[in-house]
Symmetry: C2
Subunit: 345 residues, 2 copies
DNA sequence: TCGTCAAATGTAAAGGTTTACATTGACGGT
DNA sequence: ACCGTCAATGTAAACCTTTACATTTGACGA
């Protein structure tokens, strides 16, 4: 039975003694085929072990059953769980997921554009926050597209993310509830939209607590470990220290914690620290990090569901949808009441 | 110029005033085409923005330009760098990489088998250490396949990994050089081949140092964080403590370190710990972990190169090749000379 | 009895590419 | 002047599927 070359629809048709059209119908629109015929076809399929040749199918249909996911870096700890959500949802609808990473090189982006142009993907999911393909002109016939995490910079593309402001608000509220009054924010609120929104949550929380804008410390940091450490050093130079550091993400928080420990301070005894994202490392840091958890799998699921909906509707784009999920506070051991030094003031 | 539907080879042929066969040849076998013609075709391609329709090409050729990579878990910290190696190498040869994860559910494996049978992948890279598809029978017409990290259990499939024994030997030699005589090994050397080989390196090192087999402590542990902590607890119960823990991987080492810190011990003051893998976390643990680095990108590169070679040679399988790369010792802060308590004995 | 209609099935084209085979034309050797 | 050779190019088939359209069949109402 196990021929060298895989069975085609014709093999099935011959065995079932019907035409290939009937076989195709029995598979895709069974209600259009007599029950007895359906049975014969099913048996023939079982005998031959037939599977549809995806290439031929995609060619005929003019679209593939693959979704391309482009991320700047696969190693990003935020990525893998999102991917699980994306993939499960896609698979449930008969689609497969293809992963690409640009490593922040524009050259790579172009290769993916070529890939898309050769019809190999029916849809696109972007993690990059920006269309990685040079001119908008080239994107003229891009397939349906959904952004994840961050809105996509240069195109009216729907996206699924987290309510950054609400999440940040939970972190700052916790710090305030513990008694902190002087709280520093570290992040790049000028160029990164997600950071900007988290900053907004920070401000809103301090406003609500009646802490004047004058007393706030906002430091620049691009979200890397190094940026956290650097911001901390600058604060020590200035001798303008807060009692708590609200970091725009966990990486930054890690940088701050490394810096504080290097200077011999205790966390959370001397300073409190919060992050954002809840990357896997967060629970293994010493102390374990209090942070805001991204509902990663859920984000992935929603994003893919949205994309698949666009695919079947044919509503290619222009729907500037924005789906924001609610993130949760994860309380661990990096936050405590401010040290006496602060209570004194 | 930017039509609604993508340009086909016929559009190019019309503009270049040649036949489609010539266009195809100009692209794939330029030496068979007159220079002047080649020029016309190149221009026409530039004008139309033509890209080969991958579906049609794959259909005609009977094979795709995609490689399927199956891993048990994409979130595995070992995975992402390997993937970069795999992907770069594939792309350099005109192949794309498709990623699947089985989450250790056999059901998922079957779906990938279906995927392969529908001709959607030209080759297969396995991280699982086992063919994730039930019966060997079904694998009869599997595409060329290469294992990564671990030899694939049920099939004569070549694999690319690391010289576990040599790596483990480096770790144990370091511990011995620091003066440790009583060194525990924690790992699952019975069912996991990689663990078993690391264990062999451990034994070889102790043999070379003239430490009798009787004085060795070997604990079971499946490689999870929890398994490390558990093994540690058992040693404390038995009151049979080593001065150093040589862990089969970094996760186990992390478990041991968490357990030791919970009991108030200092690392490396009271106990030394080594890992294996050098996962990204390793440098952020406190203390940072001395471990054996897997040359991940290199492994990925080699594995893909081997697969592509098999693809072009047509030597489908049966070549039970085993390519082992040399891992390096990464010295950080979790190892020191044994405490006085030990020196006394 | 026949015409009409609907359900079930078949026929054939189309989708874009690669390539075996056929054709053309130029050129060198006799 | 003719033939053989070879390089360059063209023609058409094949890869496998889906589906519009055509055909067959049988039921049913007039």
């Amino acid at each position: 039975m196990s021929n060298s070359s895989p069975a085609t629809i014709e093999d099935v048709a011959r065995i079932a003694e019907v035409s290939i059209a009937t076989v195709s119908r029995a598979i895709h629109t069974p209600e259009k085929v007599a029950k007895s015929t359906r049975l014969k076809v099913d048996q023939a399929i079982a005998i031959t072990g037939y599977t549809t040749n995806a290439m031929a199918r995609s060619l005929r249909l003019g679209r593939s059953n693959m979704i391309l996911v482009v991320a700047p870096d696969i190693g990003d700890p935020n990525f893998s769980n999102i991917l699980i959500g994306l993939e499960n949802e896609a698979r449930a609808h008969g689609y497969g997921v293809l992963i690409g990473h640009t490593q922040n090189e524009p050259q790579r982006g172009l290769e993916y554009l070529k890939f898309l142009n050769s019809n190999q993907a029916a849809g696109l999911i972007l993690f990059t926050g920006i269309l990685p393909f040079g001119h908008r002109a080239m994107t003229a016939r891009l397939p349906p597209c959904v952004g994840v995490f961050e809105p996509v910079f240069n195109g009216g593309i729907p996206y699924v993310g987290v309510d950054d402001a609400a999440g940040a608000r939970k972190a700052v509220d916790l710090l305030i509830a513990e008694g902190h009054r002087k709280i520093a924010f570290i992040g790049d609120s000028r160029t990164k939209l997600a950071h900007n929104r988290r900053r907004a949550g920070y401000d809103a929380g301090l406003d609500a607590a009646g802490i004047p804008a004058a007393g706030r410390i906002v430091m620049e940091g691009d979200g890397t470990i190094e940026s956290g450490r650097l911001a901390l050093e600058q604060l020590f130079m200035r001798d303008d220290l807060p009692s708590a550091f609200m970091c725009v993400n966990d990486q930054t928080a890690l940088g701050v914690m490394i810096g504080l420990k290097a200077r011999g301070y205790d966390i959370p005894g001397d300073f409190s620290v919060t992050g954002f994202d809840d990357i896997p490392q967060a629970s293994f840091m010493t102390p374990s990090l209090t942070t805001i958890r991204q509902p990663r799998t859920a984000i992935g699921k929603r994003a893919m569901a949205l994309l698949l909906e666009m695919l079947s509707d044919g509503t290619s784009a222009e729907t500037e949808t924005e789906i924001l999920l609610r993130p949760d506070l994860v309380v661990r051991n990096s936050v405590a009441a401010p040290s006496r030094q602060w209570a004194a003031r």
